[in-house]
Structures are given as structure tokens and as C-alpha cells.
Symmetry: C2
Subunit: 331 residues, 2 copies
């Protein structure tokens, strides 16, 4: 397929077309998308044999509440990486954007320099669709970007619903970006998200906010003490950075490289990727099968009545589930 050849030649136009193909809901194009993914997978398999040091690419998840300064950070960090001869792809996952007005879209205005950088590629997820659909697309977009020669994939998300956890299950390293503000601002940080972070960065550590950033850094450092380690071989750090003065950015990258090295050496990274693939397969199955259930003609009609009866205590949850399952299985 010509798109595949374009990808191998690191052609940006082909990359954009490949991702559009993956996002399609058109059935004939879907077949083409599958063929493309197969070509990519086979090519990856063939090259993989020669790499014994773990994955050649690095997938980094980036999340944080609105106001953490994610766009400015990605602009600065992306440029920092391309200057080091990395090729950086930025994928934004935001299934809520149709509701919130597309906060992550408009990349050209959001990251003006990075979007002009020939070694960077920025793409937002389609603004419509279910979380399952959008994330499947993102997972496949990662593969396509890697095939096109991008070695660092940044996956950005905002803290809405389950997206952050979903992104944490897609990446090698998950980073949480927070603003140097306590109190109410902290409420914007999703329950449990600090716990899946491999790195916490306090952004906007410049000007008047330096001392506030120090305090927040200290608070997170002590909060992290209460958190069970996700990984036995890694202790997450809390770093202070400024996307404006660029202070702390080299240290941040150094920490990321250390993580990658440690995790590669122990084989954890390879295992993580393999496990993630299985998790995704099961997630897709669960989504599909629950869709199948909800759209079953008899079940669909009864769901709201059953929910009502259950919440009013006329039926136990177990009984209602049994009745709906019986309807579903009749078919």
C-alpha cells in the first residue's frame, strides 16, 4: 500500500492520511486500515529481532488538570526533544472535547512553534465517539507514528472521566503535570491519578510562583509516601519545572531516561507493553460485548424499567441481572 511506503519514508502527509484511515468509520476504508496495520505489525516484527535492549520507541503519557500548563509544556518539551534529534509525535486524547468545546484542539494556535517543527507531529483525537473508540484509535495511531519514524510519542489527556487511567494503560511512562497551587485547584486532580504516575512535575515554577511550587512539591513528596509502589524498581519523583524559563526541563528528561533505562534493563518495559496489549484486547471485548447487550432489541426496551425497579427495591440487583441475561441469551 502506498501509504505504508510513505510512512517508511517518513512522509508526514502519509502519516496524516494513515491516521485518518484508522479513524474512519467507512467499512471499505476500515479494511484498508486493517491491511495497513498488518503491514506495520509485520514490519515491526521483522525489525524487532535485531533489538535486544527493549523497545526502540518511548511512549510517554502526560496528564494534568486544566491550568497546569500542558500546552506550553508540550511546546517547550517537544522543542527540547527535537533539538536533541528526536522525532516527537503528540497525540491528544480527549473524548470529552465535543462537550467541553474542544479544549485540546486547535493545535496550531496552542503549540505554534512545535506545530511548525518538521520533526514533530501533532494530532488530536477525533472529537466524537466513545472512550473505547477514541482510545482504540489512539492505540493504533501510536503504532502508525512509530512506523513513520517517530521515536518519542507523547500522549496528552485532560482529567475527564476515565481517560487518564486509560492513557496510563497505553504508555511506557505516565507523567502528571500540576500547577503550583493548592487548595481548590488540587480538587481538579482526579482521585487515584497520583498513584499511577511514574513522575510528577510541578509546572510554572517561575517568577512569583517559585515558592508556591516548592510548597506543592513538598506536599506531593509526602503524599507519595502514602502510595503503594506501582513498580518495585522505580520510585516516582516530584520535580519542579518551568516551561517558560526552561528550568528543570533537562532534569525532567534525565529522569525519564533513567526510568526507561531501568525498566528496559529489568525487562519490565517489555512485559508492560505485552501486558498492555492483552489489557486492551479485553477492554475492546468488554466494550463490544456490553454494546451488543445494550443494543439487543428486548434488553434495550427493558433496561430503564429494570433500573427503576432495582433502585426502588422491587427487584434485587441480582434478580434483575438474571432476567435481563435471560432475555439476552434467548437470541
Amino acid at each position: 500500500q502506498s501509504i505504508f511506503d510513505g510512512l517508511k519514508n517518513h512522509d508526514r502527509g502519509s502519516l496524516a492520511r494513515a491516521i485518518t484511515l484508522i479513524e474512519t468509520s467507512n467499512p471499505t476504508k476500515k479494511v484498508q486500515a486493517k491491511a495497513l496495520l498488518n503491514l506495520i505489525l509485520h514490519d515491526q516484527k521483522a525489525n524487532e529481532v535485531h533489538s535486544l535492549k527493549g523497545p526502540k520507541t518511548f511512549r510517554v503519557g502526560l496528564s494534568g488538570p486544566p491550568g497546569a500548563g500542558k500546552s506550553t509544556f508540550i511546546e517547550t518539551f517537544g522543542k527540547f526533544l527535537t533539538e536533541k534529534d528526536h522525532k516527537v509525535a503528540v497525540l491528544a486524547v480527549d473524548p470529552s472535547s465535543s462537550r467541553t468545546g474542544g479544549s485540546l484542539l486547535g493545535d496550531k494556535t496552542r503549540m505554534p512553534e512545535l506545530s511548525r517543527d518538521m520533526n514533530a507531529f501533532i494530532r488530536a483525537s477525533p472529537s466524537r465517539g466513545t472512550l473505547g473508540g477514541v482510545t482504540r484509535t489512539t492505540n493504533e495511531a501510536i503504532l502508525v507514528c512509530e512506523a513513520a519514524g517517530y521515536d518519542i510519542i507523547l500522549i496528552e489527556t485532560i482529567g475527564v472521566g476515565q481517560t487518564e487511567f486509560v492513557v496510563a494503560d497505553m504508555v511506557d511512562m505516565f507523567c502528571l503535570l500540576i500547577p503550583p497551587a493548592g487548595g481548590d485547584e488540587l480538587q481538579g486532580i482526579k482521585k487515584g491519578i497520583v498513584e499511577v504516575a511514574d513522575l510528577v512535575a510541578v509546572n510554572k515554577c517561575d517568577g512569583d510562583l517559585v515558592s508556591a511550587a516548592r510548597i506543592i512539591q513538598g506536599e506531593y513528596m509526602s503524599a507519595l509516601k502514602f502510595i503503594r509502589k506501582v513498580n518495585l524498581n522505580w520510585s516516582p519523583q516530584v520535580l519542579r519545572i518551568s516551561s517558560i524559563t526552561k528550568e528543570g526541563i533537562p532534569e525532567l528528561w534525565k529522569n525519564m531516561c533513567e526510568f526507561r533505562e531501568t525498566m528496559s534493563k529489568t525487562g519490565d518495559l517489555e512485559r508492560k507493553r505485552a501486558d498492555q496489549k492483552k489489557i486492551w484486547m479485553w477492554n475492546y471485548i468488554k466494550d463490544n460485548i456490553m454494546d451488543l447487550f445494550r443494543s439487543h432489541p428486548v434488553v434495550r426496551e427493558k433496561i430503564s424499567v429494570m433500573e427503576d425497579r432495582v433502585s426502588h427495591g422491587v427487584l434485587t440487583p441480582g434478580e434483575a441481572a438474571d432476567m435481563l441475561m435471560r432475555d439476552f441469551m434467548k437470541d
Copy 2:
């Protein structure tokens, strides 16, 4: 049914038989169990009309790492409540007990006084079965205990797998019991569990451990600052208690009563129970439907091959899910 009459007469033997009936896997007994649950539900509906102040019973979840002193606490707290003329049922959820050697079983030795108390009823979940099955049983056992006149239901669990979160979704108030020890001991506290707690109690605040308990209390108080409120109308407290000297136990109960009153007044408690029932219905459906999927003859044979192909990168997770779904739907 005679068991139902026995329950209404607050007969302990009938209660024990009712729970055994619910736990059965025998098909004819299952029909009987359903009939019993229906009687209970109708009876509850009939009585509910007269209560406008929210639920008459109080369901309290209790969790904590091994070593937190849960058994001693339940012994002391249970006696404290029965002395105040409450009828207390203790249900232990521990789907792991077949593996860990039944840490929650052996109630007569674990809580010698409470198990002899005529106003207390203690029951461990069956030691075998899936989490879904055990929790369904527990949910139904709550109803049965309430029908038998128990007004306070304590649901105890240890921090294994998802049980704590599952219990948090069954109760009016979820309490976390912790030992006065930092460092490694803290690792025993499940990720994210502090965040669903409506109350944290530092146990063993007696003798040499008082100052350690104070430190831990302070640390948890500051950690709670980082946690998004589950409930807008309630700020979880961190209390120090001793199950031996009984210090802090009256204050603990006072805090629980305040929670219950606040949540009843706002209508949150009623809403929480209604929502929990819907959550449970969907959980049962998901469990059943995934069991159906995994036990489908064609799917069952292919699962491990597909998982293998996916983790080795021969198939994308999405493709493998599509293929398995096609097999499943052929039937």
C-alpha cells in the same frame, strides 16, 4: 415460607438458614432463595412507606490491612453497639480466604465475646467462589440481616484485590482502619482506598503506640487534603482509637452518627443506596456476560492463542478482539 416468618420473629437459626439458602448453588434451593428475597423485598417496600427520614438501617464497611486489628476492633465496637441496644450483624467478605488460609474465618475464636452476644450475628462469606458470586451473596445477606431486625450491618474485608472497592459500593459509610505504623506497613494499604474512605481510624492508640498513632493521624490528615471529596457534604476525619482501652470508640460512633444524619438529611444516603443497586445490577450483568463469553466453546479454545499473538505483536488488540467477537456472535 417458614424461614421468612422466623426472620420476622428475629430468630437467629432462621437467619443462619436464610443465608445458607442464599449461598447455595443447588438449583431448587436457588428458587427458594429467590422466593425468600422477594418476600423480604415486599415486606421492606411495605414498611418503607412509613419512614421518611431515610433508611432505618446503617451499613458500615470496614477495611484495613492485616495487622490493623480489625477483629479486636469489631469485638469492642460490636459490644459497644449492642450495649446501646443495637442489633449488630457482621458479614465478612474474603474471596481470597481459600488462598490465604481463611484469615477471616474462625469467628468464634476471633471475636469470642461478640459471637456469644445474643444481639450480634457474625457470618463469614463462603471461602470459595468468584468475587462476583461472593459479593452478590453478601449484598443479599445484608437484606436478610436487615429483615431479621439487625439495624447495624458491619461488612468487613481485607485489602485483597478489588474487594475493598466492592465493599465501598455496598455500604452507607466506608471506614478504613489502620495500624499506628508507618513505612513498610503503609504499603499494605491499597492504592486509592484512602480516597473512598468516609472515615479513617488509627487503631491501637494505647500504651507505647500513642505517639506513633498521633504521627500517623497527622500524616493521614495531610494526605486527605490531596484527595478529592467523594461527597460534597462530608469531610472525612482521621480519629485515634484503642480497641483495648476503648478510648475514642464513643467519638468514632458519634462521627458515624453525624455522617448518617448529614447524609440522610440531604437525601444523599437514599440516593447512594438507589445508585448502588443499579451499579450492582450492571456489575452482575458484566460478570455474567463475560463468563458467557469466556465459556463459549469456540472462544474458549482461541483465547490463549489470541492473547499470545497480541502480546507478541502479531495482531493488534483491536483485531484480536474483533475476531473473538465474530466467533462469539456466530452462535
